[in-house]
Symmetry: C2
Subunit: 269 residues, 2 copies
Amino acid sequence: MQAYSLPILPQPKRVGLSTEVMGIDEAQQPISLRIIEEQAWTLYLNATEIVTVMTIGDYPDLLAVGYLVNQNLLENINIITAIDIDHELQVVVVRTDAAAPPVLSRRIRTSGCAEGTMFEHVLENLPKQILNDTSILSTDVMMQVLKRINTTPSLYLEAGAIHGCCLCQQENIIAYLEDVGRHNAVDKIAGLMHTHKLDGSGCWFYTTGRLTTEMVIKTVQMGIPILVSRSGFTAAGVTFAQQYGLTLIGRARGKRFQLLSHPERIAFL
Amino acid sequence: MQAYSLPILPQPKRVGLSTEVMGIDEAQQPISLRIIEEQAWTLYLNATEIVTVMTIGDYPDLLAVGYLVNQNLLENINIITAIDIDHELQVVVVRTDAAAPPVLSRRIRTSGCAEGTMFEHVLENLPKQILNDTSILSTDVMMQVLKRINTTPSLYLEAGAIHGCCLCQQENIIAYLEDVGRHNAVDKIAGLMHTHKLDGSGCWFYTTGRLTTEMVIKTVQMGIPILVSRSGFTAAGVTFAQQYGLTLIGRARGKRFQLLSHPERIAFL
């Protein structure tokens, strides 16, 4: 199991993450542009095939562990003994010291698709604890970090059509991970936190994606008290955030933002 | 089963689709803003529970039929005898003249979540035919319609954080449907086409979402020869479009766009 040195930042020039394609523009002129490559990786928990996901394939180990953590499939298995990655077959196997939990087959059956958001599944995974972290983030630190994120070389700047997530601690970016689906990007952060024994308390989380129920619940599960997005809100996401003690900030662009839940952690400077 | 009069356009003022919430802005001033409501609807095919999806809940009948069509679950069942909607329980039942296909249980088990995109599932559902529609769309008609879409009163303009899809025929918008996930919006269009016996030939499709593999394959399955998006591309989506004869236009904003596949259907005027 590989330990990564932090911070992890995007590697937009890495071979295989994006590719050059030819086309024409509105004036019928030839253009060449970079677009994101998708790969189909299959995740195993020991001998059990869990899921096949479309991903940019940069951190299959973190994606696999984070997926398992966020699906509560590692609940009673805290010891990962090995993570085997086969880049050719695009298979990643997470090996643990105990067998897969018995609820596994039922869980997977109910996780049908609706942009990653399954309500039954969400209800099964409701966090058990309310966030009571008392850390404070000032608006000037937040805005300075958001500006730094937006100007960091990334696949988003290189090719677009990708979501990004950042785990931050005050003015430090601990990890900036991107993927074709925002769920993968979040799962990779969760995988990093699990494998590197990082605690969410005192941290804040930035996502380019919308603040849906699922995003709010995943953030609470990761124990991160503040969630910030460039995008907007949904009503259920706001309700869950208020209920679980999560500070929720949306539409954070330039110097503007909207704060809809638990403002007590934000210092307006 | 209800027949809708066309065109179907967004109803941003309809009760229950969005709600007012209070918050504060970056200057710590109180703000009130409208945000989208999500509902958890459960879809049944006859007596079989298929999936629970988060949706704005405006057209559960179209969503249910379109979901079944796009998952190839109505393959050998062309006759829908009834669609029962229970708004209180948020349940929709599609009734057919034959039992559910035997592949049902396996299909659902493999449809795990990765922003709605499952590769195995995609491979199972690969279109059988290549698009050979010879209709022509001119750039001036396309741009005029895109401008009309962007200025039509919508939940997007009212509250944001929502995806939209439009089925168009030359300068006519046949349906403009929105939902929290772009997959739902596409499925509602597919449901409309199935229940209203609309053929995709000679039509074009607009989406606010990215041009991923899944979006390309769904468009080909619907028999629509031209797919236009405000957002960008992924490499696999472009490859599938080239292979299946789909004209693919991305990053269509203002007077600009990028055309990466089958330009022969576009007249540059």
